[in-house]
């Protein structure tokens, strides 16, 4: 019989292995948040059950059986997170804590129904892959954000450490799975990363960046990510008109007012879901949000370091 405490350990080991880290006693103690002596005791019990291989000073590794169990716990955990976050609207850091309790009380039937109800999502709200029913995971080729160098752009895939404080901080920065970030600069002295997230300049510490797993974008992909509806730009941002998704009437009106491909458009005002004001060819033009959404622009990268510095001071 595998206790819920053992499941918790298997899950933690599984997560560490997923990250490709060596599962030492201290790493495991840190991940679970207990004293190393407690960990040693549990490692022995798991080893006895044949779920892990324990080698002194080298830590533990999951056996095939252990991996199956760990994947199953991870799957239940992440399914619950999705359910709590998507269906019940619970904030992502709280979803994690609740899922930790629920995962151990989930029968295979309930797990199946949960997966059905969620329509077989592939990732938890933090972007981590939900293992499939067979326990298989297809990890994407991801790297920590902290390994990127300036001007590289990447799409955020997952947040590897699901701690409340970290998640709240990332939420505030706009760093969520699916968002695109660009490394504008690195300040080695302070161990800081200057990023642009959805056109805004932000500064994050190296430590935080190391928990954010990203998929590097090729220059073409990064160019593609910069083509956005005009409404995606924040006030003060500039874009170059790229294309219209609109009908002839709107296109003709846009063209006559100076929105031609390549023309520079600067957002002067954009509040909530209301209309926007832009500056195009020295003219202030007010556009309904619906109309502005139909104008695609290439977001112009401007001096983000400057904005983030002024924000800090």
């Amino acid at each position: 019989m595998v206790s819920s405490q053992m499941e918790e350990y298997l899950e933690a080991i599984g997560k560490l292995e997923e990250r490709g880290e060596l599962v030492t006693t201290s790493a495991l103690a840190k991940e679970i948040g207990v004293a190393p002596s407690t960990v040693t005791e549990m490692q022995r019990r798991l080893s006895d059950q044949g779920l892990v291989l324990y080698k002194p000073r080298k830590g533990v590794s999951l056996t095939a059986a252990g991996r199956d169990l760990a994947a199953s716990v991870l799957r239940r955990h992440r399914l619950w997170e999705r359910f709590l976050h998507d269906i019940l609207g619970i904030a992502w850091e709280k979803a994690h804590d609740n899922a930790c309790k629920l995962e151990h009380a989930t029968s295979p039937d309930l797990e199946y129904q949960l997966a059905q109800a969620l329509g077989h999502g592939t990732a938890c709200p933090h972007g981590n892959i939900i293992p499939d029913a067979g326990g298989e995971m297809q990890p994407e080729a991801v790297v920590p954000l902290s390994e990127l160098v300036p001007t590289q752009a990447a799409r955020i895939v997952s947040i590897r450490r699901e701690s409340g404080a970290l998640l709240r901080r990332l939420e505030a920065l706009g760093i969520r799975p699916g968002a695109v970030v660009r490394v504008e600069g690195v300040i080695p002295k302070d161990n800081l990363f200057v990023l642009s997230v959805a056109g805004r300049g932000e500064t994050v510490e190296h430590d935080i960046a190391s928990h954010v797993m990203v998929k590097l974008l090729s220059p073409e992909q990064s160019e593609a990510e910069r083509i956005v509806p005009l409404t995606d730009l924040a006030p003060g941002e500039t874009g170059l008109v790229r294309q219209f998704l609109a009908g002839r009437g709107l296109v003709a009106r846009c063209l006559a007012l100076g929105f031609t491909p390549g023309a520079e458009v600067k957002i002067l005002q954009s509040f909530g879901r209301g209309p926007v004001i832009v500056l195009v060819r020295d003219t202030r033009v007010a556009l309904g949000r619906g109309q502005a959404q139909k104008i695609l622009v290439v977001r112009k990268e401007n001096a983000h370091a400057e904005t983030s510095q002024s924000k800090d001071s």
Binding site: L255, G258, P275, D282, T283, R284, A286
Partner: protein, 685 residues
């Protein structure tokens, strides 16, 4: 004003004259004035023509046409003000009028007014005008505004680049008029080396255009040049497309259509090519300000376009307009009404011995109608001046921007908010105010909704009747009914949008002009012209309807109880029973067509003979449920005759008829539903 004495007034160009040729005095040369909105075109027109203006409508359209006379060096020019448009592709009636006029009427010179503070965008119309068969003179207006923005435009450099005369102007201060005159004259006489640099399209587009032109061949419909037709076809111009299609044999048209389908993006490429050309033209002539200068407009806009601050400003300004109406117009209206009643009394005593019907016709029918028109004038004048002011200083677009946040949810353009809100005062200026909207669809939708807004007259009836019936609970009933009216406006907005306009949401894309000081001459002149147009076109109709309404209410015996109107009311009694109303209430509703506030007076006459006041009689005539139903009907009932006449002036007879019909159906339906629901639920019976 430079030389008012030498100006002649245009011999009346009849409103229905389809062309202007017949009205050219002595074959005067024709100068057409074109330009985008917000370039100060009306300042140029006013500076050139002074008071010698004639205002009418373009043939077959409800779009204002202004013409005037200008003399220079012993010669007379007829100035034709074309509608302000951003382009000359027929996306709107205005654009079609402007370009058809240039092509069909062959003006001797087309003056295109451009804004020096907004050079690239306003030169777009020059690029299009050069493609038409008429010589172009560029009036580089608002150089003072450009300088205040830190921009400098070298007119001589621009002239050299374009190959057409470029005249720097400040039309509001009459600067540069002399030079404009000289330039127009030189082009007409051929003494200016007129060699326009045509907008280049680039090899690909030029080739495409050549192929379309070749297919059209010799069969271009007169008088359109085939190269221009080819360009407009590529730009997807609907008007030109159907014109060419009607003129070409089927197989040639199909060849063109195939080409157009393959090159659907040509419209974008052509506009880009024009802007590239403009960029080359202005490169040497335009000096831009250093970046980072925060202009006055930006600073004002931070508040004026803020979702909350801006809304507060908008409501504050509209409140101010109502206050002005109350302060300025109301006393004048009172004076006018006193004058009318004095006239009516004098007439009555002068006609002693004449038949009663004649006295009634003259005093109640005719003088009453004149009174209605006259008492509207001060209110209209204040509204026109106020809206003209807000439009001229550049605020109107900001107000529309703020209001669009909620207006677009019921399918309305942000600008519609202004007329709808003003409708709370009086529906007539509100209907006229819907002119500020740019597209026909938005104007029409607003015009149809305005009469649902309870005006001051209906509010008076509402407060009186609710007060008499509900006592202390009257404010609640009134508030409830007003909320009901607001909901009906929203619902009808969505419904008309769906049913009449195919459910498309309005195109909200609008220039926010730079703020500038008001030009009172233009605002005053425009107010005067609009008042005159109202008296001529709506006033005459109001007068005749007033006589008819009088006849219905007074004939055959002179007493309303035995009148045709009363007969009609009794005839409608079965309908009234569904709402809990007797024939007298029905007559009251019908009589309110003359003027909404008259409902109370009519009721008083119909219930006369009893010893008590109307307020005491009413609770016996109406159950609470019938009272609420009556008030709902009264608020939504057909617009008053002045409003109907105004709708006809703005949108034509059929829309005026539609307004009457739908509001009659809507109001009675609402009344029946309210009364029958109350009966079912046993409320207030």
């Amino acid at each position: 004003m430079r030389k008012p004495a030498s100006r002649k007034t245009v011999e009346a160009t009849s409103l229905v004259t389809p062309r202007l040729e017949g009205a050219q005095p002595g074959g005067a040369a024709i100068v057409a004035l074109a330009g985008s909105p917000n370039v100060g075109k009306s300042s140029v027109f006013n500076a050139l023509t002074g008071l010698s203006q004639h205002v009418g409508n373009w043939p077959g359209k409800t779009i204002e046409q202004k013409t005037g006379i200008h003399s220079y060096d012993g010669k007379t020019f007829q100035i034709v003000d074309l509608p302000g448009t951003y382009s000359l592709t027929a996306n709107s009636p205005e654009e079609q009028i402007a370009r058809d006029y240039i092509i069909r009427e062959h003006p001797d010179v087309v003056v295109v007014v451009v804004n020096a503070a907004n050079l690239e965008r306003t030169l777009y119309l020059v690029a299009e005008a050069l493609e038409l068969p008429a010589p172009v003179v560029v009036a580089l207006n608002m150089v003072d505004v450009a300088e205040s923005q830190g921009m400098r435009v070298e007119a001589k450099v621009l002239q050299a680049a374009l190959g057409v005369p470029v005249v720097p102007m400040v039309a509001t201060r009459h600067q540069g008029l002399q030079e404009l005159d000289e330039a127009i004259n030189q082009v007409m006489e051929g003494s200016f080396p007129y060699e326009p640099r045509m907008p280049e399209l680039g090899p690909e587009l030029a080739n495409l255009r050549g192929r379309v032109e070749q297919i059209i061949g010799e069969q271009a419909p007169h008088p359109y040049p085939s190269c221009w037709l080819a360009l407009k076809l590529l730009e997807g111009d609907k008007e030109v497309t159907s014109l060419v299609r009607a003129h070409l044999p089927e197989e040639r048209w199909q060849a063109i259509e195939a080409l157009l389908r393959q090159n659907e993006d040509a419209v974008i490429a052509i506009a880009s090519a024009r802007y590239e050309w403009i960029g080359r033209m202005v490169r040497a002539a335009l000096t831009r300000p250093r970046a980072g200068v925060v202009s006055l407009t930006d600073r004002l806009d931070r508040l004026a376009t803020h979702p909350y601050g801006g809304l507060a400003i908008l409501l504050g300004l509209l409140g101010l307009i109502f206050w002005l109406v109350y302060q300025i117009a109301e006393p004048l209206v009172g004076l006018l009404e006193a004058g009318i009643s004095t006239c009516s009394r004098l007439l009555g005593s002068a006609l002693v011995g004449a038949p009663a019907w004649l006295v009634g016709l003259l005093t109640d029918g005719i003088l009453g109608g004149v009174g209605t028109v006259l008492s509207l004038l001060p209110i209209l004048a204040v509204f026109f001046l106020a809206i003209g002011f807000l439009e001229d200083v550049g605020y109107l677009a900001r107000g529309a921007f703020v209001a669009d946040r909620f207006m677009h949810r019921i399918g309305l353009h942000g600008k519609s908010f202004l007329p709808l809100f003003l409708g709370l005062g009086c529906n007539v200026p509100a209907v006229l105010g819907s002119r500020i909207l740019d597209s026909k669809r938005d104007r029409l939708l607003t015009t149809l909704l305005v009469p649902l807004v309870p005006c001051a007259g209906r509010m008076a009836v509402l407060t009186f009747v609710a007060g008499a019936l509900f006592g202390r609970r009257a404010p609640l009933v009134i508030l409830g009914l007003l909320a009901f009216a607001a909901a009906i406006v929203g619902l009808c907005g969505m419904l008309f949008n769906r049913l009449l306009f195919g459910g498309e949401s309005p195109l909200f894309i609008m220039e926010l002009p730079l703020y500038h000081l008001p030009n009172w001459r233009i605002i005053g002149l425009q107010t005067w012209q609009r008042l005159a147009a109202f008296v001529v076109r709506a006033g005459t109709l109001i007068l005749s309807v007033s006589v008819i309404v009088w006849a219905l209410a007074a004939l055959p015996s002179g007493a309303i109880e035995q009148s045709y109107l009363a007969h009609l009311g009794r005839y409608l009694a079965p309908l009234g029973r569904l709402i809990g109303l007797d024939w007298r209430m029905m007559v009251t509703l019908l009589a309110s067509f003359a003027a909404k506030e008259q409902a109370v007076a009519t009721l008083a006459i119909l219930t006369a003979g009893q010893e008590e006041t109307l307020a005491a009689v009413l609770p016996r005539m109406l159950t609470p449920a019938a009272g609420v139903a009556f008030l709902a009907v009264q608020m939504l009932f057909v617009p008053c005759m002045a409003t109907v006449a105004t709708i006809r002036q703005e949108a034509g007879w059929h829309w005026a008829g539609f307004s009457l019909a739908y509001q009659a159906v809507l109001s009675f339906t609402a009344g029946i539903v309210i009364y029958q629901m109350a009966n079912l639920l046993n409320l207030g019976v």
